[in-house]
Amino acid sequence: MNALSRFAADKTRSAGYGILVVAVILLGVIPLLMESLYSLHILVMVFFYVIAALSLRAIVISGQFPLGHAAFMGVGAYASGMAAKWLHLPPELTIPGAAVFTMIIGVMVAVSFSRLRALYYAMGSLFLGVAIIQILNAGGTWTGGYSGFSGITPMFGNSKVSWYYAALGLMILSAAALYRFEFSRIGTNMKAISQSHLVAESVGINEAKYRILAVAIGSFFVGLAGAGYAHYMGTIATSSYNFMATMWLFMYVLVGGVNNFFGPIVGSFILILIPEYFRSLKTYSPFISAGILFLFVYLMPGGFAGLIQAAVARVKSWRRERARDVAAD
C-alpha cells in the first residue's frame, strides 16, 4: 500500500471512528431526552439482540452456520433464570455463569461436528436447538414448560433507565471484545479458513481448532445476551428461541451486511426499530419486516454495509476524477 492510499484509508477509518463516537454519545443521552419508557424498553431489547447478532456473526465468519443459535440464547436465559430463581444465586453471578455454561454446550456440538463439512454442523446445531427447546418445554415447573418461565430475579430495582445503561454498557463491552477478537491474528486466520479450506490447510492452520474457538466465543456471547435479557424481562418463553428466532438473528446479520463488523449492529436496529415504528398496523406489521428483507435481497445484496461501501467507493472515484480533471487543466 502506498502512502497516499494509506492516508485515504486512515481518513475513512477516522471518519468511521467519528461516527461511532457520535452514535455512542447519542445513545448515551437518549434516556435524558426521552420520556417514553416504552421506547427505552425497545432500545434495551435492541441492545441485547445486537449482542446476539454479533455473536452469530463471529461464528459465521469462520465459515459455519449455527442454525440453532437462538436456542443457545435460550440456554443462557434459562440457565441464568433457573439458577437465580431456584438456587437463589445473585444474577451478577448467574449471568456470567450462564454464558460460560452456554459456551460449554456450544463447544460440545462444535467438537462433535468439527471434522465434517459445514453443512453438518449447521444441521447438528439446528436439531440440537430444537431438542433444547423441546426439553425446556418438557421441564414442568422447573422451566415453566409451554406457558413460559416467570419470576426471574430482577435487577436494578426494575428501573428502565438503569437497565438501559446496563444493556448499553454490556453491548459496547461485548462489541469491543468481539472486535478485538475478529482483528486479532486468530480472527484473521479464522477468516482465511472460511475463504478456503485447502489454502488454510496448506499453510498449516488447524481448521478444527479455529472453528471450535469461533463457536466457543459466539456461544459465550449469545448466552450472555440471553441471560441478561431474561433478567430484564422477568418472564421468558421457549418460542423466543426457536428456529425462526435463529433465522431472524441471521436476518439482522445479513441485512446489516455480513462482511462488515458493524453490519449486525445496524441490521438489528433496522429490523427491530422500523417494524416497531409501524406497530399500529397490528396483524399486518410483519409485512414491513418482509418488505425490508426483499428490499435488501433484490436491491442491496451486500446489506447496509455494502451500500455504504459502494457509496464511499463512488465518492472516491468521483473525487479522483475531479482531481484528474483539475490536473489536466
Binding site: G124, F127, A131, I135, G139, Y284, F296
Partner: protein, 285 residues
Amino acid sequence: MEQVVATIFNVLILSSMYILVALGFAFLFNMLGILNLAHGAVYMVGGYIGFALINSAGVNPWVAILIATLIMAGFGVVLERFCFRPFTGDFNRIVMVGVGINVVLQTAVNALLGTRMQALPSFFDGYLRFGVVSVSYQRITIFLIGAALLVLVSWFVRRTKHGQQMQAISQDIEGAALSGINVHRVSALACAIGSGMAALAGCLMGSYLMLSPYMGDLMLIKALVLVILAGIGSIGGIFVTGLILGGLDAVAPVIFDGAVADAIPYIVVVVVLLLRPRGFFGREA
C-alpha cells in the same frame, strides 16, 4: 388392540405426510443446494386454501384439494423463477428470501383468516370395523391418498425422462447442463411438484389434525430432519427416515406426557446425527 391399530394408522399417516413434504424440499436441496425456507409455509397455505374453498366457497372437498394443490404448484414455479433462480449459489440471499416469503404467507393467512386453529371437514363419515377394532374411513382415505402419491412420485423420479433429469442434476449439475438438460426448466418443474405435494399434504393434515398459521415452521424442521438423516442426495432414504420419525411422533405420546413426547423424537435425532453425521444413506464422502 384398539389402541394398537389406531397407533399404527397414526404412524402410517404421519410418515406419509412427512415424506410428501420432505421429498419436495429434497428435490431443490439435492439439485441446487437450495435451502427452501418457504416450503413449510407453502404446506400451510395449501391447507388453508383447501379449508377456505370448502368452508367459504362450498366447493366439493376433492375439488378443493385439487385446486389448492394446483395453485401452490403454480406458486412453486413463481418461487423458483423469481426467488431462487436469480440467487443460485448465494446461500445468504436464498435464506433471506425464504424467510421473507415465509413471513408474507403467515401474515397473509393471519390477516385473512385469523390465528384461530381450523380444521378441514371430513370427506368420509363412518368407520371400517373388523371385530372389536374400528378405523375411520377418513383416516384410511388420507393414508391411501398419501401412499398412492408417494408411489406415483417414486415412479416419476425413477422412470420418467424428467425424473431422471432431476436425478442427473442432483448428481452432477454441470454434467446435466452439458447433456443439454434445461436445468432451469427442470428446477421449476421440481419446485412445482414439490410445492404441490406440500400443499396436498397440508390439506390432508388439516383434516387429520388442525390448521394453524405456524404449522409450517414445525413441518419444515421435520422435512429437514428427514432429508439430513436420510443423507444428502438420497431420495429413497427419506422413506425410511420418514417412517422412523413418523413412528416416533406417533408412538411417543402413547407412552409419555405431552411435552416429553414432543421432546423425545428430537433427542433421538440428535443422538442419531452424532452417531451417523452423514445420515443413513448419504452419498458424499
